[in-house]
């Protein structure tokens, strides 16, 4: 009896699943990547790197005015 070939989505999922499961050095690397991304986005981005203009002004016109004021008031 011929077994039915799983559909493409299932095959792609299995490809990644098996790939991750059989990793050796890669597991450690993935852990480093996840910690790194957490530090970058959950710590640096959230607490230290707010967009300066976005936080202070609501419209593009206000941002333009502020930048022109800063750049030309010398």
């Amino acid at each position: 009896m011929e077994t039915k070939k799983p559909n493409l989505a299932v095959r792609i999922f299995r490809f990644y699943y098996d790939g991750f499961r059989s990793m050796t050095v890669g597991r450690k690397l993935w852990l480093i990547i996840l910690i790194k991304l957490f530090i970058m986005f959950a710590v640096f981005r959230l607490f230290f790197f707010r967009d300066f203009l976005e936080e202070r002004f609501d419209t593009d016109e206000q941002k333009s005015d502020y930048v022109i004021e800063t750049l030309t008031n010398f």
Partner: protein
């Protein structure tokens, strides 16, 4: 506002950006070069069917994977910094920076989520040829991904293809192809990726040398050295060619940087190229931070030839660029400041009268669309900031530019010799007897990183005081935030990136020591 600016804020913001960019650049070049070496090795495997090449490819792929995993996303920090620390700059560059970075992000996403996965997980699961295609696509994709950020950087060194909208204070891209294919962008891209190829080849040769010194994995080491030396030699020669073209770009678009690279104060016809030299610590009497040579070895006429392809051509020196040189059509700093001030005052007046004098407003607005006015005044906009300032403030730090340039060039020449020697002894199978050379090849790995960083130091320190050439000085680009915040994030980055670097080195050393193993991912 600029006058009241705390310069320590500028220095810390610059320091922070330099720290993150330099750490980021520790990871990138190996990815650029090693990815192609993997593709060559796997191509040999697919062509010959020899399992040895599969094992060799897989070993270097693990080294690639470690470097890629640790380095991936470290560049995102730079984008955070644009919005927070460099808001004036980010606003001013408008979509010129946004478009290339968005393309880079999309490319990196597709590359990382698909082809890298096939490259690492796909052995024995996809066909040999499809796997090989994925490896090549990773190499091409990684290098194309670097294209966009380098295009953005080249635009800062030579702003083209844009229109400055004075109502929004933003530059708008009017010619994408001019931005993408400007001579500076093409040369910067080719020079930078070929430097990555050279570094990748030197890392493979260096690690292989270690194996030969330890008398381990000898066949893999010898064959890897031959592949890497051929690739490295071709890349090294191409690097010299693109370096030569880049020097001409710099002489044309950033003559002050070019003069600083050579510590050339007085302009000359038949200007000599300094092959090696040392500058005196103390300044000479021009009042412009002039440094005299303690000693130098120079070749007459070569600098002129590099710039004009004519040994009799005139190369302006730092003093010519400050004082002007009518005979050779060099504008003085004073003239540039005067023109820049006109542009700056027009922008200021435009804002002030926006709601009160529509006729004058239209007249001023029209100036920014008038090509002649833009060429004669707006082009020098950034010089307006230097009115009443010491002329020395428009000169980059000459010793840094001079030494970083000469170190990069000297090491580049040395690397070509290393590739030649590796190839010669490798083909003749005499590498085992050259233990002194194997030691040199091993210690060339850190030198490759030093040369690569020196290139960026020259590029970025040499163009000071500009963040966008002639349009925006660095001190005008920073956000008015607390210096303490920048100091805190500087140290946070220093700790995080140092930890990442230690992690990379320890995992990589461990991997190299354990050697190739079948089936490792």
């Amino acid at each position: 506002m600029i006058e009241n600016l705390d310069m320590s804020l500028v220095d810390w913001s610059r320091g922070q950006f330099a720290l993150t960019a330099m750490f980021h650049w520790l990871f990138v070049p190996l990815t650029l070069g090693l990815s192609f070496i993997l593709a060559f090795m796997e191509t040999i495997y697919v062509k010959t069917g020899d399992e040895f090449w599969k094992r060799t490819t897989k070993f270097w792929m693990t080294i690639f994977g470690i470097n890629f995993a640790i380095g991936v996303a470290t560049g995102i920090i730079l984008e955070f910094e644009f919005g927070t620390n460099w808001s004036n700059y980010s606003w001013f560059v408008g979509d010129i920076f946004g478009a290339p970075l968005a393309i880079e992000g999309i490319m990196a996403f597709f590359l990382e989520s698909t082809f890298i996965a096939v490259m690492f997980f796909g052995w024995n699961k996809v066909g040999k040829k499809f796997h090989l295609l994925s490896t090549w696509l990773v190499a091409i994709g990684a290098n194309l991904s670097a294209l966009w950020i380098l295009v953005a950087n080249a635009w800062m060194q030579n702003p083209v293809g844009m229109f400055f909208n004075p109502e929004t204070a933003r530059n708008e891209m009017v010619n994408f192809w001019e931005v993408l294919f400007s001579q500076s962008a093409v040369n910067k891209f080719l020079h930078t990726i070929s430097s990555g190829f050279v570094l990748g080849a030197l890392v493979v040769i260096g690690i292989s040398s270690w194996y030969l010194l330890k008398r381990r994995e000898q066949l893999m080491a010898k064959r890897s050295m031959i592949v890497a030396s051929v690739f490295g030699l071709l890349s090294g020669l191409f690097l010299i060619f693109t370096g030569d073209s880049s020097a001409r770009d710099i002489a044309r678009d950033q003559p002050m940087k070019f003069a600083a690279m050579e510590a050339l104060y007085e302009g000359k016809t038949r200007a000599p190229l300094v092959l090696a030299g040392a500058l005196r610590g103390e300044e000479a009497g021009s009042g412009l931070g002039e440094r005299e040579f303690l000693f130098r070895i120079e070749v007459p006429g070569v600098l002129s030839y590099m710039v004009h392809l004519d040994p009799a051509g005139f190369v302006p020196g730092i003093l010519d660029l400050v004082r002007g040189n009518e005979e050779h059509g060099v504008l003085s700093l004073e003239e540039k400041i005067s023109r820049g001030t006109v542009a700056m005052e027009a922008l200021r007046e435009l804002k002030d009268i926006r709601d009160t004098d529509s006729e004058r407003y239209s007249e001023l607005l029209a100036r920014f669309s008038d090509e002649e006015w833009v060429e004669n005044h707006f082009r020098y906009f950034g010089y307006g900031y230097f009115r009443g300032k010491d002329p020395a403030t428009v000169i980059p730090h000459v010793p840094i530019a001079f030494y970083s340039f000469h170190l990069m060039v000297f090491l580049g020449g040395f690397f070509v010799l290393v590739f030649l020697a590796t190839l010669y002894w490798g083909i003749r199978d005499q590498m085992d007897n050259k233990r002194w050379f194997l030691r040199i090849a091993l210690w060339t790995i850190p030198l490759a990183y030093i040369a690569s960083q020196a290139g960026w130091v020259l590029s970025e320190m040499g163009r000071q005081p500009w963040v966008i050439q002639d349009l925006m000085p660095t001190f005008a680009a920073v956000s008015r935030i607390d210096t303490e915040t920048v100091q805190i994030t500087f140290w946070l980055f220093a700790v995080t990136f140092t930890a990442l670097l230690i992690a990379e080195l320890s995992i990589m050393f461990k991997q190299v020591k354990s050697g190739p193993k079948e089936g490792e991912k």
